[in-house]
Structures are given as C-alpha cells and as structure tokens.
C-alpha cells in the first residue's frame, strides 16, 4: 500500500485551516502539522502556494493543494470513509451553494467586517450578516443535529467557525449577532458542533483568541 504522507501548513487561529484539520480527523487520516507565522511567511509556504501565499496548504505524497474548500473536496474524494459531501447530486449542489454563500456573506464581508467597522458601516455590515444568518437558520430548521442530518458533513465544516470564533468576534467587537432566541436552530447546531469529538479538543483556547483578535481589531479598524 502506498505510504500516505500528509502534511498540513497552518496558522493556529485560522478557521480555514481548522476546517481541513476537522476533515482529516473525521476520516482518521494521520498528518504532520506545520505551524506558519502568517505575518512572517516561510520560504516553504511561499514555494508551496506562490499564487495566494496563504494557509492552509495540504501536501499529500508530494501533491500540493491550496484553498480550503478545494482541499475539503480532495480529502473527501481521496479518503472514502466518513463521507463529507452528501451522495445525491442535488444535495451536493445545495451544500456547495450554502458553503459559498456563508463564506461570502457571513465570514469575509460579514461578521469580521461588522466587528471592525464604526458608525454607519457597522450598522450596514451587521444588518447584512444577520440577514445572511437568517437564511442559514432556515436551512437548519428541522434538519437534525447537523446540516446533513445526524452526521457531521461538508457544510458543517464550512460553517463550523461560527460556533467558536463568532462569539469571540462579538466579544472583541462589542456586537451581537448570534441571538439564541432569534436563531434557536443555529444555537443548537453550534453546541452540537463544538462538542463533536473531531472538533472539541482541537479548538484554540478562547483567551488566546481574544488577545489575538483584540490586537487585529486595533490594526484593522475601518
């Protein structure tokens, strides 16, 4: 059997890296984790991901992969146990659709922007993030523990950052996005997610995240 050498270049607080780690853990794939300082990028990182110069980068038997969603699909296709994407093509299309939606509307231009913004910009970012979260809440209603039902899957991994990073951003940015009375299905899902065995012992310590994001907030105020 071909030896499976898997290395993952990451940064301790990156949600993009975390989702790859969860996927590898769920599939029981052993890997070597290499911590990168993204503020002082190593020659290795620049060599492996010259196009974006970002983590995560997965190296599997010399094959180099970048972009977290691309990596997730690769992991799913290469290691068949514990499937992440659903089997049915329409369900797969929906999972991909919502992952992209959440990435654009809740993560990048959503919550983190809202945390850093002031005045009108803050109101706007907050409003659109909450609107986006309402759609996710709609997707979770009546679904079971996770987006795909009883088992954790691709869309859970794509949105998993919400369960432990969003509360930190809310704290640090003094904003309220995840109101459990307004988003009960999401709140329940968050709890299931952080307690999942593949997730719970791999999350960065909360106090360390608070210090990090407080600093970033000061540096990136908009």
């Amino acid at each position: 059997m071909e030896s499976q050498e898997v290395k993952l270049l990451g940064f301790w607080v990156s949600p993009f890296v975390h989702r790859v780690e969860w996927a590898l853990k769920l599939k029981g794939v052993p890997y070597e984790y290499i911590e990168e300082d993204i503020f002082n990028k190593s020659p290795l990182l620049l060599e492996l991901n010259p196009v974006h110069k970002k983590v995560p980068v997965l190296v599997h038997n010399q094959k180099v992969l970048a972009e977290s969603f691309v990596i997730l699909e690769y992991i799913d296709e290469n290691w068949k146990q514990c499937p992440l994407l659903p089997q049915d093509p329409y369900d797969r299309a929906k999972a991909r659709f919502w992952a992209k939606f959440a990435e654009e509307k809740i993560l990048s231009d959503g919550a983190w922007r809202a945390a850093r913004a002031k005045g009108d910009n803050r109101e706007k970012a907050l409003g659109s993030t909450i609107e986006a979260l309402e759609k996710i809440e709609g997707e979770l209603k009546g679904k079971g523990k996770f987006f795909g039902g009883e088992s954790i899957g691709y869309l859970d991994l794509a949105l998993g950052w919400i369960s432990y990073m969003l509360p930190v951003w809310e704290d640090v940015g003094s904003i309220k996005i995840m109101d459990p009375t307004r988003f009960p299905a999401t709140a329940a899902w968050m709890s299931e997610f952080v307690n999942h065995p593949a997730v719970k012992d791999s999350l960065p310590p909360r106090d360390k995240m608070i210090i990090y994001f407080e600093k970033r907030l000061k540096e990136l105020e908009i």
Binding site: V51, H52, H60, K63, L65, A66, E67, F69, V70, I71, E73, Y74, E77, N78, P89, Y90, R92, A93, R96, F97, K100, F101, K135
Partner: protein, 231 residues
C-alpha cells in the same frame, strides 16, 4: 431528453450563464433557454434564486440550482454517462477547482477592474494585473493539459469552461481599451487554446460575437454606469 425537464434562466451576454450552457452542450442535453431582460428580474428568477436573484439558474424538473460552477458540477454528476467535465483523478480535480476559484476570485475581478479604473495610471496598473494573471494561467495550462489541446486534456473540461467563458469579454476589453491582453508572444499556449475553445462544438453557438457583445457593453455602461455583471 424532454425539453421542459431542463431549463436555464440566463442571458446571452453573461459568461456565467455560458458556463451552464456549455456543460449542457457537452452532455448533449436539450434545454429551454429562458432569457432575462436587462434591468428587470422575472418572477421565475426571483422564485428560483431568492438568495442572490442572479443568473444563471438551472432548473432541473422542479429543482433550482444556482451559482455557475455549482451548476457545472451538478450537470457533470447527474448526467454521468455523458463525456466527463471534471477530471477523474482527485488531484487533477483539485487543481481544476483551484484555478477555477482563482479565476472567479482574482482574475475576472481584475478584468472588470480595467473599465472601472480612474485615470491612466490606474488603468495601466489594472491592465498589468490582468496580464500577470494570464501568465499564471499560461503556466497552469501547460501543467494541466500535459501536451493536449485543452486544460481538460483531449476535450474541454471544467477549467476550460471556467476560464473560456470570459474570452468574449476579454476581447471586448481589448478592443475598447486599445490593448492586447491575450498576447501570442507572452502566452502562446493560451492564445492557441482560445481559438480551439471558441470553435469547439459545445461552445461556438453560445459564445457571443465580439461586436455584438461590444454593443451590449455600451448599453450596459450607459444604463448602469458599470461594467459586466459579477456572479
């Protein structure tokens, strides 16, 4: 295949809509093409894509599928007996998806940046960005094609579709700015690939004529003071 079973909501100038149509053409599927009017959104569009209210939407039976690359993958997975759109090897698939994401997240926005640029200096910088991106894609072509005519190998595939759909707008941008972007001397493989792609049987009837597209671009800019739609 019944005509009403597969419908595409779209518009002929949209490169994103073209992706869906090329995918269906590769699989030799009949479909009904329902064109949206510029400046208004039909009831069917608002109902099928309430989240983004954008084209393309593929409606298969009663199931709406949105986002052009999600649609292409859906078509590939449902009609799996037809010619494959994504490569079969997981690593080749990952490479194709990586570059498709690059094109959507970085390269196409840089192309849209040219008409948006204010002033000569900004325009030159925007043009350079597009050219730099094309050089990256030239390298990607050499690696992915492995000596064959397309990114996908012997026949057009996912990455050919993801990138090739922008060739019309690329030519319009070249014409209206008096600049060569896809240069035979700098990116010879891409230049040759572009000709092959546009003449492919799955592409040629859905790739708009450059002059017609340029006329449309004028109308678009006049109406909205904005460059092409970004899906």
């Amino acid at each position: 295949m019944a005509n009403k079973e597969v419908r595409v909501l779209g518009a002929w100038p949209s490169p994103f809509v073209m992706r869906a149509r090329i995918a269906l053409n590769i699989k030799k599927l009949d479909y009904e093409f329902l064109q949206e009017q510029l400046g208004s959104k039909s009831e069917l569009l608002l109902k099928s894509n309430p989240v983004h209210k954008k084209i393309p939407v593929l409606i298969h039976g009663d199931k709406p599928i949105c986002e052009s690359l999600v649609i292409v993958q859906y078509v590939d997975e449902v009609w799996s007996s037809g010619p494959s759109i994504l490569p079969s090897d997981p690593y080749d698939r990952a490479i194709a998806r990586f570059w498709a994401a690059y094109i959507d997240d970085k390269w196409f926005p840089s192309l849209s940046g040219i008409p948006r640029a204010q002033g000569e200096e900004a325009k030159m910088a925007a043009i350079q960005q597009v050219r730099d991106g094309l050089e990256l894609l030239e390298d990607a072509f050499v690696k992915c094609s492995k000596g064959k005519p397309f990114f996908g190998g012997d026949s057009i595939g996912y990455l050919d579709i993801a990138f090739g759909c922008f060739l019309g707008w690329l030519r319009v941008t070249e014409k209206s700015n008096g600049v060569k972007l896809l240069d035979e001397t700098k990116t010879p493989n891409l230049a040759k690939w572009a000709v092959r792609f546009c003449s492919d049987v799955a592409v040629k009837d859905v790739m708009p004529d450059t002059d017609k597209l340029a006329e449309f671009a004028k109308v678009l800019f006049a109406k909205f003071r904005a460059p092409p739609p970004s899906n």
